[in-house]
Subunit: 346 residues, 2 copies
């Protein structure tokens, strides 16, 4: 089909048909419905037939150059190898594809310099907008003046300044878990809090500690431990918390990965989950339920966040007013959280 001479262009089609390229362009861009007023019904048919006989695909570079619209969006994440992020991205990709957009996705490793560099890079690619999933609470990287001319929305993490974002209601998620721990009778609790620059971690932590404070059991500062979001960080933080003289009976790790690290720490200390120690994570990743001791976690709508972020961005690009959205979390109680046990237990 596409055999002949190089890629099929509008001009190629026009010449074969003895028409002008502008006519062909109008027809091919016009609505598929019978009547635009692009050309006569007969001509329309001939053009359409030849176009897909030849497998014509418009050259996006030419189109973008002319229209100043690239149908490209840039997507920034700390690291795609984290399942939560990857799942959000799946939602982004799904919706973007549905809307005829392509995405440039890139890992910034939460490094401010890389963030700036990558923002510059996608902007250089002339994206129509960007979806930022690695924002730091202070919004530093977003202050780049180059961003003034390109619309963007946040996803996954929000920012203090209140830029439009789609996130899980992390604060509420933290409260849910606190509620759960309280109902189980845990009074001495701790938080593996993740990175202080990520709203996911801080909001979950705040929701949790707020609820505990309201219950008259404020969580002391030394029982809130910041750490990296991975297993290694969770492990270290948990180790410190659990070797404390006054060991907490329940630990909330602000994501499942950190929780798994905490499991490792508990194992090393000879503590059995659900018996000696209650442990909960966040995000309800597919692993949580399969672990030897199934992990209590808070389910957050990840792919949905991604889909909504795309739609939000589209509205921003269209110049419509937009507001942030938060999606409701859901508690998934499992065996890793049980009633507290007395200090006599070893």
């Amino acid at each position: 089909m596409a055999g002949d001479g190089g890629p099929v262009t509008l001009r190629g089609i026009a010449e074969r048909l003895g028409l002008h390229v502008s006519t062909v362009s109008r027809v091919l861009n016009g609505p598929t419905g019978e009547q635009g007023r692009a050309a006569s019904a007969e001509t329309v048919r001939r053009i359409r037939d030849l176009a897909d006989e030849l497998g014509y695909r418009p050259n996006p570079h030419a189109t973008s150059l002319r229209t100043r619209r690239s149908n490209l969006v840039g997507v920034l994440f700390p690291r795609l190898s984290e399942i939560v992020v990857a799942t959000i991205y799946e939602g982004v990709e799904e919706e973007a594809t549905a809307q005829g957009l392509s995405t440039f996705v890139t890992n910034t490793h939460d490094d401010p310099a890389t963030q700036r560099e990558r923002i510059a890079m996608v902007l250089g690619r002339r994206v129509d907008g960007l979806i930022i999933g690695d924002a730091h609470l202070d919004g530093a990287a977003l202050a780049d003046p180059a961003l003034d001319s390109t619309p963007f929305v946040l996803v996954n993490r929000r920012v203090e300044s209140g830029h439009p974002a789609v996130t899980c209601d992390d604060y509420q998620g933290g409260r849910l878990l606190a509620e759960h721990f309280l109902s189980l009778g845990h009074r001495r609790v701790a938080v593996v809090a993740g990175e202080p620059f990520a709203s996911t971690g801080t909001d979950r932590t705040t929701g949790f500690t707020d609820r505990y404070r309201e219950a008259g059991l404020p969580v002391p500062a030394h029982r809130v431990r910041h750490c990296s979001f991975d297993t290694a960080g969770g492990r270290r933080a948990a180790l410190e918390l659990l070797t404390d003289a006054d060991r907490p009976t329940a630990v909330f790790a602000v994501n499942d990965l950190a929780a798994i690290g905490a499991m490792g720490a508990a194992r090393d200390l000879g503590l059995r989950l659900g018996e000696h120690l209650a442990l909960a994570g966040f995000n309800d990743t597919p692993l949580a339920a399969e672990l030897p001791v199934p992990l209590t976690s808070v389910r957050s709508p990840m792919a949905e966040q991604g889909r909504r972020a795309v739609r939000l961005l589209l509205r921003r690009i269209a110049g419509e007013p937009v507001a942030s959205q938060t999606l409701p979390p859901q508690l998934m109680a499992r065996a890793s959280t049980g009633a507290p046990v007395g200090p006599d237990l070893r």
Copy 2:
């Protein structure tokens, strides 16, 4: 700085300087080194100064249109939410960035129709080449004639027809594990084999069973169970294998996720890992070591695969002859694999 009138173009710079755009283009494209022969030293300086005072970034659409080179590569994976894949992609992205390329990455969910559609999509975006990480052994989706005109390489999975690929030496990895099980004295072993269309699973399986056959202990067909690559699949397959009358003493799951599913199954059956049952995975994902019972696994160089795939693709694009590469795996023995125990145990 970029304040004034719209985006900075070559023409804008040329006009301000009273030069011709072609001169500016040559200077800005020329080597940074003092002496091309683009223009006088003085002119070069003036152009460079103004260009970065104004924050000039060439419009990639215009460049691509003219040069027929997009510096874009398409990347196909089954699903980015699998950590192995995501890690390979990190390698791809790192190297691509280093080489001045941008990537379109997309999830095909191992669905042939989606694969074809996505290939068409990235081709439509006029990528310079593609990196395919979701190939099926039969190479069906690669037969698309549209692919004839665009170079591509495989990563992660190879294909029967031998198209250039960068993979882990999965066969060798399977053998390593068989060796390990043999040295521990396991004679009745089983394989959670993953999807039959993915070379990763089949090669690991074949390596494993070959080694056992060589040891005079062929693994019967009913002890090799195909399943999806996720925890659910691993769980189901393991459940079937472990409820067999003649229960195997050791199980090799061809990836860590399936292994975790198998852990769930073992847990449900009351089997303790490393005591009643030896279990091993593949890929040595960061979780493996942190699990309550640390999981024996085979480490495969994932990011390195990605980096090499990019370099291989670049050579292909340049028209150089290329050959497939396999990277050596490495056994990481941990507590989940222990010596076999008699049938009396419960």
